[in-house]
């Protein structure tokens, strides 16, 4: 049941999906669960819509976690965000205003096949689990497979590489399903947020080129406010800026695709840490990591309700 779900531990895919069904059952006023499609191995791609039911064309924020299988803190954060959203709707005026005025579409596990594989077989699997009969290596980097400057600098065209871009853009059913959903509702989406690990960074477009986005000053302000809010929790410092200069150039990324699709605010979080535990962030750090990231995401969302 919901009360038994422990948000301070990592959960398997099955546990996360059971939790989603349970949350959807017990909070029909704030939650709605649906699937945007199926993964390569046929698993449903579940999304939770969090927010007070209201006008069908409410502005929306998309948050996906678990694009890269081994980055387990991502799915942990998505669960945390839903739990906090619901728990604080009544008493926290900021959260109530956000959920009254925005819909949050939360995808706790984007790469469902890869995540399951990282639990059962290879803890450090990154890619999807698609097969290409011509090659023995499996999987595509789901953050190099989006139809934006696809398979250019910072991505690999070799199927055995961890940054393999895939045989063609949106070749991965998981990417295609999310892209199709976002395309269909793009007028409503004000922000796209993708949760990754590790490096402690907040990144925004562009990844594929050294250039300044047209609404740079607003996005930079939103990022600044977000990392300031994050710092206020435990004093953890995040770097922020365009992905191409703050991290490195890479093509076919989801934030560039979202931005080019017309979503004005697109961010990728690289959560804790900076290389002490790396992907093996202990469960004891789930709470502080998710608490501080919660502040950053709500800061971004609050900014969407103001004019910039």
């Amino acid at each position: 049941s919901e009360s038994q779900h422990d948000y301070n531990v990592y959960h398997s895919l099955e546990e996360i999906q059971s939790w989603m069904f349970e949350m959807n059952r017990t909070h029909p006023d704030l939650l709605d669960m649906f699937s945007v499609g199926k993964s390569y191995e046929g698993r449903p791609l579940y999304v939770l819509q969090l927010g007070k039911r209201g006008h069908p064309h409410k502005k929306a924020v998309w948050i996906d976690c678990g694009v890269h299988a081994r980055e387990w803190i991502g799915p942990a954060f998505c669960q945390w965000f839903v739990k906090e959203g619901i728990a604080s709707y009544q008493d926290d005026s900021v959260m109530r205003r956000l959920l009254d005025q925005l819909s949050f579409y939360i995808m706790p596990v984007f790469n469902v096949d890869g995540y399951h594989f990282s639990w059962t077989t290879d803890r450090f699997w990154r890619k999807t689990r698609s097969k290409n009969p011509k090659f023995h290596c499996r999987g595509v980097d789901a953050n190099r497979n989006w139809k934006v400057k696809w398979c250019d600098e910072g991505a690999s065209s070799h199927p055995c590489d961890d940054t393999y871009c895939g045989p063609f853009p949106e070749s991965e059913p998981e990417v295609r399903a999310v892209a199709k959903f976002l395309r269909k509702h793009k007028k409503r989406f004000r922000a796209y947020i993708s949760i990754h690990a590790y490096a402690q960074m907040l990144l925004y477009p562009y990844s594929y080129k050294y250039a300044t986005i047209p609404n740079f000053s607003c996005v930079e302000l939103a990022a600044h406010n977000a990392v300031t809010a994050l710092y206020s929790a435990y004093g953890v410092k995040y770097r922020y800026g365009p992905a191409s200069t703050t991290l490195y150039v890479s093509s076919g990324s989801s934030i560039d695709w979202a931005y080019r699709s017309g979503i004005p605010y697109a961010f990728a979080f690289e959560l804790r840490d900076t290389g002490y535990f790396g992907f093996l962030l202990p469960e004891s750090l789930i709470s502080p990591t998710c608490t501080e990231t919660m502040r950053a995401v709500t800061a971004i969302a609050s900014g969407l309700l103001k004019k910039c």
């Binding site: 398997s12 803890r123 980097d141 690999s156 490195y248 290389g275 002490y276 535990f277 790396g278």
Partner: protein, 99 residues
């Protein structure tokens, strides 16, 4: 043991190439050892004074350490036994319970 103990003895190195020459040498060294790039995501993204975290198989740790020492490239081990760290991450929950 989780993952059938497949990560026992594996390590994660943090390598910091200081100069462009270090970068060139490091890329060459890592061409000959099968490592899993944690950060950045691939050898092509290695740059001077940017840390490189790589997962090194048990059988390759000694050789890689010797090569890095020989090339005077700054490095340290930030996870000395990956299997132990993996087991620590999810506490004492049995793999069956996890699965």
């Amino acid at each position: 043991r989780l993952y059938n103990n497949r990560y026992a003895g594996d390590q994660v190195f943090r390598i910091t190439p200081g100069s462009d020459e270090d970068v060139r040498v490091l890329k060459d060294v890592l061409e000959h050892v099968k490592v899993d790039f944690w950060q950045p995501n691939s050898a092509s993204l290695i740059g001077p004074n940017a840390t490189v975290d790589v997962h090194v198989k048990r059988g390759d740790t000694r050789g890689l350490r010797a090569r890095l020492k020989q090339e005077h490239i700054d490095h340290q081990v930030f996870i000395s036994d990956l299997q132990r760290e993996i087991e620590k991450q999810t506490g004492n929950r049995s793999s069956r319970q996890r699965r």
